[in-house]
């Protein structure tokens, strides 16, 4: 049992700052009408930098979805969407968000009305229909940024195709905002975006230390900024501060799990409404989820970015993100993470909401077991729809998985 004193030191200083930034961000977004700024709703993997250049406030229904999940409002909102005729098989972010828009409900009193919608299908096909629904409902222009699936490589024809859409994207923004795109500012934003991604990766990398100063559950929390405000100085400053705090923890010996014995890798989105329970359940086994494929996705395609030509190289970076590549490529990323973070096992969340993420997990599991010889377990649920989570079933799987790892490792 940890004493209250210990718990205090284990709390992150940066968490308070992060909450302040997110609050300011949502206040800005919600008062955009008064301040004369425009609001764009954008998908989580969409190219946000051009919006920052145009001083448009990006708002993320998916980040909002996470908020809905964490505040246990997902089940109710999903059932409202089902009453409107949406299928229970639909992504729970989409269901909850559509219900919020139409019902005018949800956390923080709903999202601010969009002036435009930016939909990039590098994460899934669901977003296309989801954003079309919003475009009809709000009667605002929709820009679709189409990124072809990259099984293994990025052919020239795809590069040209995606690159040409960046020009269309810019003209679309110029049209809606009635202002020209500032190339000089675009370079600045690009540099900040890249810097932000590098810092985020550096923060995640601190968990390679044994024992780890942070867990994937902390990463799920601190992720919000790289998703929402990528390309701004706020993100860079914040992650610098967070990185310093992580390093300080390593120096002072403050570990995420007091008696870390087992290190695990998490795959897929978090179960937003069960973060605390999951983290406590793993901690009770002295197991630390040191890394995850999800939060890494926001810095995973940095390697394709050309520092001196951010704008053009964005085409490739945004196309080759984790959910838009084949299983062979995904598994390479996972192997690297297994080695880098020295993990003893993998926990896969088979997330019925997110098909592109969950499809292929059993194949990936097999490949990992064969090539890396580490055990994998599967938890089934929906990331925001708490009606589909079975605590006792999940607890049995986790306990059995940990007993198995203990037998193996001792």
């Amino acid at each position: 049992m940890s004493t209250p004193e210990k718990d205090k030191t284990r709390k992150f200083r940066a968490a308070k700052r992060m909450r302040e930034i997110m609050t300011e961000y949502y206040i800005d977004a919600k008062s955009a009408v008064q301040t004369g700024r425009k609001v764009a709703w954008i998908t989580s993997g969409g190219p946000v930098e051009p919006l920052i250049v145009m001083d448009v406030i990006p708002v993320y229904p998916e980040n909002y979805g996470a908020m809905i999940g964490a505040s246990h409002m997902g089940g109710d909102l999903c059932s409202k969407a089902e009453a409107l005729g949406y299928s229970t098989d639909l992504c729970s972010y989409a269901r909850a968000d559509i219900a919020c828009a139409i019902e005018n409900g949800g956390p923080i009193g709903g999202l601010p009305r969009p002036d435009m919608l930016i939909c990039c299908n590098n994460i899934c096909g669901t977003v296309l229909k989801w954003y079309e629904i919003h475009a009809r409902y709000f009667n605002v222009p929709l820009f679709i940024f189409d990124t072809p699936f990259c099984h293994t490589e990025f052919p020239e024809i795809a590069r040209r195709y995606v690159r040409s859409q960046l020009d269309e994207y810019v003209s679309f923004l110029e049209g809606v905002c009635g202002r020209p795109f500032d190339l000089e500012k675009s370079r600045e934003v690009g540099a900040l975006s890249l810097q932000g991604q590098r810092l985020w990766q550096a923060v995640l990398d601190t968990a390679a230390h044994r024992p780890a100063p942070m867990t994937a559950f902390d990463a799920f929390f601190f992720l919000a900024l790289i998703v929402t405000l990528r390309g701004t100085k706020t993100v860079v400053d914040f992650y610098q501060e967070l990185l310093a705090e992580m390093n300080e923890r390593i120096d002072r010996g403050i570990w995420a799990i007091p008696n870390e014995r087992y290190r695990l890798l998490w795959d897929n989105l978090p179960v937003w409404y069960r973060l605390k329970w999951l983290s406590e359940t793993f901690e009770a086994h002295d197991a630390c989820l040191v890394a995850d494929t999800y939060t890494t996705a926001w810095c995973g395609s940095m390697k394709y970015i050309d520092e001196n030509n951010f704008f053009d190289s964005m085409a490739e970076a945004y196309t080759r993100i984790y959910l838009n590549i084949g299983i062979d490529e995904m598994v390479k990323t996972i192997y690297t993470m297994i080695d880098k973070y020295e993990v003893d096992g993998m926990v896969m969340h088979s997330n019925r909401s997110c098909k592109p993420y969950s499809f292929g997990q059993y194949d990936i599991q097999k490949m990992i077991q064969e090539h890396k010889g580490i055990p994998c377990m599967v938890i089934e649920s929906h990331m925001t729809d708490e009606r589909s989570f079975s605590e006792s079933q999940t607890a049995t799987r986790i306990d059995a998985f940990m007993e198995m790892i203990k037998q193996k490792k001792g």
Binding site: Q393, T396, A400, E403, M404, Q407
Partner: protein, 255 residues
Amino acid sequence: MRTAGIDIGSITAKAAIMENGAVLGTRVIFTGYNVEIASRKVYDELLAELDMPGSAVEKIISTGYGRNSVPFAHKAMTEIICHGTGAHFLRNDIRTVIDVGGQDSKAMVVDGSGMVRDFVMNDKCAAGTGRFLEVMARALEVNLDDFGAQSLKAANASRISSICTVFAESEVISLISKGESRENIIAGIHDSVASRVYAMAQRIKASAPIMMTGGVAKNIGVVRALEKKFNTAIEVNEYAQVNGAIGAAVLAARL
């Protein structure tokens, strides 16, 4: 050293008491809604049957869904590990354990020393579990205990294609109204459970020798259907239903 294992499942509670590697006795009762009371009751009844005071037992491990609600256990462990250990204890060359209980089914791959190497559980769905069989028995108005024997009399197993319990039930009802024989329908139901369990076990590369445990192992129809799928004989012994409790008692000796 005397040890005990208490296995609290969704439908039945089981207890086993062992001494130096020999099973002294076992007992099975219905769980009811109070897990704590059930655990006490099954254990006390077994102690009484063996004419043994509680103090004669040194270590107790609880397992099953109610494992964390057994106040007198020294430790709780999952049924996955306990079934693996129990099967290895009963027959040490077993490589795969298939456990089908009231609300779930699982398969475990066990190594030469009885350690679980991998496991898989059914997803949140009653298909391929004892509950599925119960629902079907009700629809057919047949006592579940007679299911096994009846299905062996089938001339031609019916085909039940739905995985969903509710859909399968309506399929069964329409087969009844078409005049299909009970035996054929029951055999079809067993095939359906066996297909689900087989597909699941394939994921972890199940290999022979295979042992089946859990309450459903008492149903000879399911066992035969599984043998056909795996194309090998499946070991079911007298302790099938209490295997988890035995495994827990074996592990308790190592505490």
